[in-house]
Amino acid sequence: MSASPRLVEVRQKVLKRNDLLARELRQRFQAAGVYVVSLVSSPGSGKTALLEKTLSLVRPNARVAALVGDLATDNDAVRLRRSMALVRQITTGTVCHLDAEMVEKALADWNLADLDLLFIENVGNLVCPSSYDLGENLRAVLMSVTEGEDKPLKYPTIFNTADLAIITKADLAQAVEFDWDAARQNINAVRPGMEVIALSSKTGEGMDRWTEWLLDAARRPFRCK
């Protein structure tokens, strides 16, 4: 009864639902005039520490909020609430990355027009978040000096999908004999031309360059993916 199989061409992006939702989010962000920055890194590279510091530094100049993804706890949200008002936790359970739907739900009752800058801290993971567009305007990938210079070569995809690389924990660089040139070379090999900022959330070195860069980027016209 069944005929021989036939091949039907379709052209369908696997993540099209996420991509569409991310595009809608990006349009909403643009209409509301809020600039959205996501942070990705392996667990413990210093995303929350950088956000704590950043929020307190830019708050006088901008209205800021943050979404924080975490598998199980709300520790990071609690830390961030100390420095500012609007923080919301997204607990992903067993899911190892944020997606556009989680972001949309988390924002549901926020008035985006009241914000200038929105940060999204992704789940600590250098692999899975790379495939999911969250509607962000800028994706920053963090690597700490204690992780070693070769992280970009081991996780090229996440570096490749990022717009900015931040080398964190610069205060520990000497102790671990961090090779700055090698790190920059490796970043450039997987994402030619990407901007690199080195900083320490502990001592504050490099923070001025980052916040200037951020406020400047937020003022530039929106990029459209």
């Binding site: 039907v8 379709v10 899911v95 190892c96 990355h97 692999v127 997987v190 990407m194």
Partner: protein, 120 residues
């Protein structure tokens, strides 16, 4: 490991597609995967089998075609293959380029269908 999420998205998309073709049964799904998609082939094949259980795609095969990275070389002024994901440089003149033209794909390209009598 987000390959299970990816597998579920593939199934969701394919089920949508065949809902428009009554009587068709999917025997294989053809998928283009670029190295920059962030998806690991073996993990995806494994997850796909699991995710298909209990769906109309149960028993179907996932046929993955790996798409090589192609970038636009500003010096050669044309599309060129890249050395590797770890070295995004033109294979002809060695110029680095972030202008990626292929290699990030994660898309269903075709379905193999067997009909159960009805029109496709």
């Amino acid at each position: 490991m987000h390959e299970l999420s990816i597998a579920l998205s593939i199934i969701e998309g394919v089920e949508e597609e065949i809902a428009r073709r009554p009587g068709a049964r999917v025997t294989a799904v053809h998928l283009n995967v670029g190295p920059l998609s962030g998806v690991v082939k073996d993990a995806l094949l494994f997850s796909y089998g699991l995710a298909c259980e209990g769906t109309s795609l149960e028993g179907s095969r996932l046929k993955i075609e790996e798409i090589p990275i192609v970038l636009y070389c500003p010096v050669c002024r044309q599309e060129r293959s890249a050395h590797s994901m770890q070295r995004l440089c033109c294979t002809v003149c060695d110029t680095p380029s972030a202008e990626i033209r292929r290699g990030s794909e994660l898309e269903v390209s075709a379905l193999e269908l067997s009909s159960v009598g009805a029109d496709l």
